[in-house]
Amino acid sequence: MDGVAGQRNAAVKVVISRVSGGGIVEYLGLGRVGLRHLALPLLLAPALAGCEGALSALDPAGPAAQSIAGVWWVMLTGSLVILAAMMGLVLWPFFKRHRPVEVPEKLWLWVGALGFPLIVLAALLAWGLPSGQSMLADRDGQVYTVEAQAAQWEWTFGYPDTEEVTQGVLHIPAGEPVDIAITSADVIHGFWVPRLAGKIDAIPGTTNTLRIFAPEPGIYEGMCAEFCGLEHATMRFSVVAHPQDEYENVLTAELNAEARP
């Protein structure tokens, strides 16, 4: 069990650098953009009230879900502004006061139809793409890794150094990154814990890895996100994050409990 703890300590450092933006951003030489941190508190306050829910991606509890929710609120605001502006342009000619105007075609189309979307989209990409960084499994740093196997219609979770498994409940340590190696025994399913991170498919014959990070101990609800047949609607699971110092004991106890009939 010593190895697990050691792994964990090293990985915490890795993830901290990861969460604060690394990977593709640095890779593309973009650095960090501050807007996300400015916009968040302003936008979140009023909107969050109605967004709480055990499965709500808008009620984030981990860094990945957090930064994506932030991206969403900014995109929502931007979209509403663009929609209003466009509808204003569309409707204006119908007003009585409108006089036919010859819009300078070249300028209008170069600037409006090409320049404007290109700039907005490039900015969105540069700023938004890195927000999912912390969900990417690291290529070099070793992180505590659990296995999730989907099958019609339940989830089975496996842990390092043991044959025992848990069903329907995944136990992880809080406050450190955990890689989840996800696969399926039959059809394609999807692993999704909305309050922690985005989803990834569980595909037979393949293993996909998702990194999640629960800063606080607690129960985070998850579900199968890819349609998988009759009982897809009820193919749920929970992720239980335990305080780090209790984790190993709890896990052992849980595995023993599960093993008993």
Binding site: A69, M75, G229
Partner: protein, 832 residues
């Protein structure tokens, strides 16, 4: 004596063009009739899809609703998606295109009226198979994109998935037929003077759409064929335990599925581009920009399919690439939107009824586009994917970008069909119900999705924050349904009691409004000379001139159904296309296919080939009816113009159509080879066993196929030199070479190839060999057919269509056959 008064011309033309009644209606091939059938059938499917949507909304209105069970719900949402996409949207586009094209291009019919009639029957029969299955409770239930392995026989053992695969493939035959029809018609069958640069924008839109259909549908058809082979004969293309890859299906499906979205959107955008200038009383701004934008859109749309697979664990760098590419499509769309806005600004637009629906289009579609950009952002996609956020997005795009413009188009063009104008107040109420109901249903659904509600669940528990939003969506859904019901009532009222009018009620400037209303069976009493983009503006009396016979091919002095074919680029008249009379052949050919598909569905594998034999026999008869046994004289087209008949010129539309069909066929084959490479590079444990073909056998096949192509070309050359003895010898040589190739290929399949049910490698290798066998077999038939045609006197140096067609076919077979075999043997282990 030939009549010269408008009434006389009308009588003479109507006598030969009039639609047949009674049982003979089954033989109708005219584009107005077939187009109308497509449109009406599509709207009936829309109603069916709508009822299914109401069942969905009723079920989701409350948490833990006992109304529907999981099985019923799965069938219902799968059928809703399937019906809406394949039996409503695509056929409606086809119908609109088939109905409108000749009217806006100044022609009397399409390039191949019988082909579109055949397409209609395929659509009707295929759709009926799917509907019957639904009524019997065995409808498809794996979702409209049928992901494997869920849709494979292990997990969906019943007939449900087969219904989808076979029914949809049957329907897609009609899409490919319509695509060939549309491309050739736009390129060749226009009136005099209509250069490409003078074509109405709608024709550009339909041309690009049809070109996209030619490339986009084949991957889906291929995927369906492979999956059906897996289900029926246990060929494991998608089974990870035997070397297959579930993701191969997803690639093939979305290679079709993404362009599909634009295939649905573009014709609707064409209607927008047509209507906006009319109701703004001005000309469109940025004609060339729009044309460039839609062509760019077509290309881009084939590079985006992976954005439907962001959550499948694809390498991250390619995710970033597809993310950026997906956002890029917003640009050509923005070009169109900005051009429309500039057009509105420059004119004095009025909020007439079609315009009202266009306002609905703008508001809904722009929002759908914006959420599309959001979904293209990979990290956000990982949260929103497969939730009701996506359901909301796709309905904003489909209803905004397709249904609203189509409703506007209905109000705009219905008077052309019926000769009557709308009863305004009802129509307006319908609009507001649809509009408000729509936003009521789907706006809140974005939030439902982000609150964590996945799509395709039949029940949910209370307390997740989903209850109220779902109730709102359901209420909105029923309001919208009431709106659509009112729309139908309004259309019926308008058709019955609408206000009659004389020509051109909206002040349109295209040729479609240069005909009397309701549109006569022959469209134009004479074909006008076009000198600009807005013929009716250039000559206000154009309609009267056309009716009075002051154009080309006035009346029907020869008792033939005639229209002009022009040079693709310049619109210079090139020849006269003689159109076929009403004919039962398309009906029977489709019926033969219906036997095939139904038998296959019921696993009556020994009956199925019988259907193919029937279809082939009627296909042969169809081809046999083309052309003539003597060289035709030039036709006096009027206005001092004398033109040859279509089958006596090298640029005959038949050959052009063959080439476009082969382009679609090549896309099919290309997808198959892509599948081979995909499995090779991604699936585990490849290859477990080897083909071990003997080099002699492979060389023999290659030589036979090449010889068949070369001999067919030599036969064509001899024919144009009028060396009639030599042409028979070369043709017979081509026939013999094809036969030899066929025999050797069968040898390869039976002796060398490993059993296809053992491993995906064996299966896909056999699929490639099977493709080559099928084409070689058809090559045998083509060569035999042309030999018979020569003997019967149908072929001369002028009437060379059969010769050319055979040469093209044999060349295609040689290239694809040798290319495919090369791929197989170059892959490790291919050759003994």
């Amino acid at each position: 004596m030939t009549p010269t008064t408008p009434v006389g011309l009308h009588r003479a033309l109507d006598a030969i063009w009039r639609a047949p009644r009674g049982i003979a209606a089954l033989s109708a091939v005219n584009h107005s009739v077939v187009g109308r059938r497509f449109i009406i059938t599509a709207f009936i499917y829309f109603a069916i899809g709508g009822v299914l949507a109401m069942l969905i909304r009723a079920q989701l209105a409350r948490p833990e609703n006992p109304f529907l069970g999981a099985d019923a719900y799965n069938q219902i949402f799968t059928m809703h998606g399937t019906v809406m996409m394949f039996l409503f949207a695509i056929p409606l586009i086809e119908g609109v295109a088939l109905y409108l094209l000749p009217k806006i291009l100044g022609a009397r019919d399409l390039a191949y009226p019988r082909l579109s009639a055949f397409g209609y029957w395929c659509y009707l029969f295929g759709g009926t198979i799917i509907l019957v299955a639904m009524v019997m409770g065995v409808a498809p239930d794996s979702g409209w994109f049928m992901y494997t392995p869920l849709a494979s026989s292990t997990y969906t053992p019943g007939i449900n998935a087969d219904v989808w695969l076979l029914g949809i493939t049957f329907v897609e035959i009609s899409a490919v037929c319509a695509a060939v029809e549309i491309v050739v018609t736009v390129l060749k069958v226009r009136t005099a003077g209509m250069a490409l640069s003078r074509m109405p924008l709608m024709a550009w839109y339909l041309l690009v759409t049809a070109a996209m259909m030619l490339i986009a549908f084949p991957p889906l058809i291929l995927g369906s064929v492979l999956l059906e082979m897996e289900r029926a004969f246990n060929w494991p293309f998608f089974d990870p335990e035997r070397g297959g890859a579930p993701l191969l299906w997803q690639h093939l499906f979305w290679l079709f599925g993404h362009p599909e979205v634009y295939i649905i959107f573009l014709p609707a955008a064409g209607a927008v581009s047509t209507l906006i200038p009319v109701f703004a009383r001005t000309r469109i701004v940025g004609y060339a920009w729009i044309v460039a934008a839609i062509i760019a859109l077509a290309f881009l749309s084939f590079g985006l399919w992976v954005h439907h697979m962001f959550a499948t664990g694809i390498p991250h760098l390619s995710l970033a690439f597809f993310s950026a590419a997906s956002m890029l499509v917003a640009v050509p769309t923005a070009v169109q939107v900005f051009a429309w806005i500039a057009t509105l600004m420059r004119g004095r637009p009025q909020m007439s009824l079609p315009m009202l629906y266009l306002m609905g289009f703008f508001s809904v579609f722009i929002l759908g586009g914006l959420t599309g950009v959001m979904l293209a952002l990979v990290p956000f996609n990982w949260q929103a994917h497969d939730t009701h956020f996506v359901v909301a997005h796709l309905h904003y795009v489909l209803i905004g970008g397709f249904v609203f413009p189509m409703l506007a188009a209905t109000y705009y063009w219905l008077p052309l069909m019926t000769g009557r104008l709308p009863v305004f107040s009802v129509s307006k109420a319908a609009f507001w119900l649809i509009f408000l109901g729509f936003h009521g249903t789907f706006l809140i659904m974005h939030f439902t999705g982000l609150m964590g509600m996945p799509r395709r669940i039949f029940t949910y528990e209370s307390g997740l924050g989903w209850d109220l939003p779902n109730l709102i969506s359901s209420i909105g859904g029923f309001v919208m349904a009431a709106g659509f019901a009112l729309f139908v009532i309004d259309i019926v009222l308008q058709t019955r009691f609408g206000r009659r009018f004389r020509r051109n009620p909206w002040g349109g400037t295209g040729l479609d409004w240069a005909m009397p209303t309701p549109a006569p069976s022959y469209n134009f009493a004479s074909l006008p000379l076009v000198t600009g983009r807005d013929p009716l503006e250039d000559n206000v009396r154009l309609g009267a001139d056309i009716a009075a016979g002051k154009g080309y091919l006035a009346g029907a002095p020869r008792g033939e159904m005639e229209t002009l074919c022009v040079d693709m680029a310049t619109g210079e008249p090139e020849h006269v296309l003689l159109l076929p009379k009403n004919d039962y052949t398309p009906f029977w050919m489709a019926a033969g296919l219906a036997v095939f598909f139904t038998a296959f569905l019921l696993s009556a594998y020994w009956v199925a080939p019988l259907g193919l034999v029937i279809a082939t026999a009627f296909g042969w008869r169809w081809l046999w009816s083309l052309g003539a046994k003597s060289d035709p004289a030039l036709i006096d087209a009027g206005q001092g113009l004398r033109l040859p008949v279509h089958f006596a010129v090298p640029s005959v539309p038949t050959l052009l159509g063959l080439k476009y069909f082969l382009a679609a066929n090549a896309a099919f084959y290309g997808s198959l080879l892509f599948g081979f490479l995909f499995l090779w590079t991604t699936a585990a444990g490849w290859p477990p066993q080897f083909l071990n073909a003997s080099p002699v056998l492979i060389a023999g096949i290659a030589i036979s196929l090449a010889a068949a192509a070369i001999f067919a070309t030599l036969a064509r050359r001899s024919n144009s030199r009028e060396a009639n003895g030599a042409r028979m010898i070369w043709l017979a040589g081509s026939l013999a070479a094809s036969l030899a190739g066929l025999g050797l290929l069968m040898g390869l399949a039976i002796m060398d190839a490993p059993p296809p049910d053992t491993h995906a490698y064996a299966a896909i290798t056999m699929a490639i060999i099977g493709y080559v066998i099928l084409h070689t077999l058809l090559g045998v038939m083509f060569a035999a057919y042309t030999l018979a045609r020569c003997r019967a006197g149908f072929v001369s140096s002028l009437r060379s269509t059969d010769m050319r067609g055979t040469a093209i076919w044999q060349l295609y077979t040689a290239i694809t056959g040798i290319g495919g075999l090369a791929l197989i043997i170059l892959a490790p282990g291919g050759l003994a």
